[in-house]
């Protein structure tokens, strides 16, 4: 494990703790420290991925170790970009631990040697998995935002103005943030699946082979497509949209692991 990767994990852990402390004590300086730590961790992480890329000539998404690490990186990246628009401070308390968890699992997993295929094929593969990972990161954040939405919604419905009510932002903000994640993630997912199909054609000589991971990928796509359609056409929002976002991510997660474990 490289020094930078260790540094990344350390920063993510510290940042996670910082965000938790911010949620608890609501002190702005604590938030700033946590935020800076996340940025530092993200830059370290970026350099790890860049180094790997220059070493192997591939975006490191060839095995579960690399993919999880890249996923964690993408989650943090998407979160940091979203923060510019939404500045949803408490979300860090969920995102940072998620990123931490994925890099820690990645660090435990062995990184088996990567067989390098013909460049053209691996380029498609890189595109395929790369876009899927960024899309998944967006969906992961949509999922976390959905959880926050449900918590806040319940607080308002049940008229319990407690811990979360005061700390969480408005339903409107959570809802539109979830929506933004969704419209960012969906094209990525679509593109990832299309490139996957093309890649399958190149490797196996056929586009579609009815294997479970393909089927689940399509199911995931359908769930998100349905959600997006409902949102756009009927104006679905709020609790049901949040529930469906959460359900979508669970299926997505299943598909994700199916790819590596199945």
């Amino acid at each position: 494990m490289s020094l930078f990767f260790t540094l990344t994990i350390a920063c993510y852990i510290a940042s996670s703790l910082g965000y938790q402390a911010y949620v608890l004590f609501q002190k702005r300086p604590v938030y700033r420290i946590a935020s800076i730590l996340l940025w530092v961790g993200f830059l370290c992480h970026t350099s790890v991925i860049a180094l790997q890329y220059f070493k192997t000539g591939h975006v490191p998404v060839q095995n579960l170790h690399e993919t999880l690490s890249t996923f964690g990186w993408a989650v943090v990246g998407v979160f940091l970009i979203l923060q510019i628009k939404f500045n949803l401070m408490v979300l860090g308390a969920l995102v940072a631990p998620l990123a931490t968890l994925s890099v820690i699992i990645a660090s435990i997993l062995p990184g088996p040697p990567v067989e390098i295929g013909p460049l053209f094929k691996s380029l498609w593969r890189t595109f395929h998995i790369g876009t899927l990972i960024v899309g998944n990161a967006a969906f992961a954040i949509a999922f976390l935002v959905g959880i926050l939405y449900l918590i806040q919604e319940k607080a308002i419905k049940d008229k319990k103005r407690g811990f979360f009510f005061r700390r969480l932002p408005s339903l409107k903000l959570l809802d539109s943030m979830g929506y933004t994640c969704l419209i960012a993630g969906f094209p990525m997912l679509t593109f990832g699946i299309i490139t996957g199909v093309i890649y399958a054609q190149m490797v196996r000589g056929r586009f579609w082979s009815w294997d479970p991971k393909e089927i689940f990928a399509v199911i995931t796509w359908l769930v998100y497509a349905a959600l997006l359609h409902e949102r756009l056409a009927v104006g679905w929002q709020g609790r049901r949209a949040a529930l469906m976002t959460i359900a979508g991510f669970v299926i997505l997660l299943f598909t994700f692991f199916l790819r590596f474990l199945g």
Binding site: Q152, I156, K157, K159, R161, F165, P169, S170, L171, K172, L173, V234, G235, W236, Q237, G238, R239, R240
Partner: protein, 434 residues
Amino acid sequence: MTEKRDIVIIGLNHKTAPVEIRERLAFPSEDTAKVLEAMRQETYVDEIILFSTCNRVEFLFTTQDMPKAVEAVKDFVAKFKKTPRDVFEQALYVYNGEEAVQHIFRVASSLDSMVVGEPQILGQIKEAYQEASNHRTCGVILNRLMHRSFSVAKRVRTETGIGGHAVSISYAAVELGRKIFDVLEGKAVLLIGAGEMAELAVEHLVTNRASPIFVANRTFERGLEIAERFKGTAIRFEEICDYLKQVDIVISSTGAPHYILVRDDFKGVMRARKNRPLFFIDIAVPRDIDPEINHIDNVYVYDIDDLKSAIQENIDERQREALRAERIVDEAVVMFLRWVQSLDVVPTIVALRDKIEEIRQAELKKTFASMASVSEESRAAIDRLTAALVKKILHDPTVFLKQSGHKDKKSLYIDITRKLFNLDAQNNRKPDMG
């Protein structure tokens, strides 16, 4: 016959009774007249005022026989509201004398309010007093008590920071609105009914740039009037359901005895409004909005009790200021009770006799000093003459004051007597505050 006239308050409020009971016992303004007229006929009750707001129902009265009067009031409420006594008896509190005076001062000063320091209660009490005055159920004691409570409330407001922090129903509404809509700018508001509290809430929303404003009132003209104030649009009461499709915040405050919106009214509404959230603020007691509606997705219904918890935090701040206010109240209570005690018959008669006797002695002394030659016998005769004169003059007033019978006028006569003869001038130089 007992001379003692007691000030009694019997009632329930938001602390002792849940909204279900309060809405059952609340007296809408059109009933107040009936209640006051009925209570005027009541043997044991002398003067009386009825307070009925969303948070409290209280009878303030004077009586010579407190236990019987309390029973009479309870029976009356049970009968009038067709509600068995055991439903509300648990929630009732009864105060008399010092406690009652303190209670009414605290209520007027908004120390007993759900939102401590909220300014509306004083207006409501003034209205209740006005109503009682119109029906002549207030006598000298309650008149004085009410005027005192107004001045106490004013002192509390100006000398403490009790009204300083912005906590009120309207504040809570805005805060909750922000938690739902993030910004209130451009959110359409519908006001159903009228009422000070509801209109304040609308005003607060308007300052937060909510717009447009719609007003629905049973009487369209009244709706127009209110709508004009907010530069809004008046709509017909029957149109409410249509407008649910386009408004975002509904503030309801009607005197309707039943729900004006139930779950069935929402068929197709959420679909038509593309599931945009809808926020109901139900200030009315009895409630206007069926609580079931809160179960619809993206619809949030807050009634007056829910708002209670919504403002809890800021209340703590006011609580500290309230301690200072309590001192002002206690001071006023002592002053008031001193005055009430002076209204007893016996001390008044004694004071009256003492005063006249004092005058007689002073005049005798003056007279005798200027006529040194007068015999002892003549002096005794003059002394007897003046004594008899005083006795004869005081006989009728004394009998009159001692007479039982004129039940609610007695305090008035005593008060007049004391003023007529300036009986309070020596012992109580400071006219009791205000």
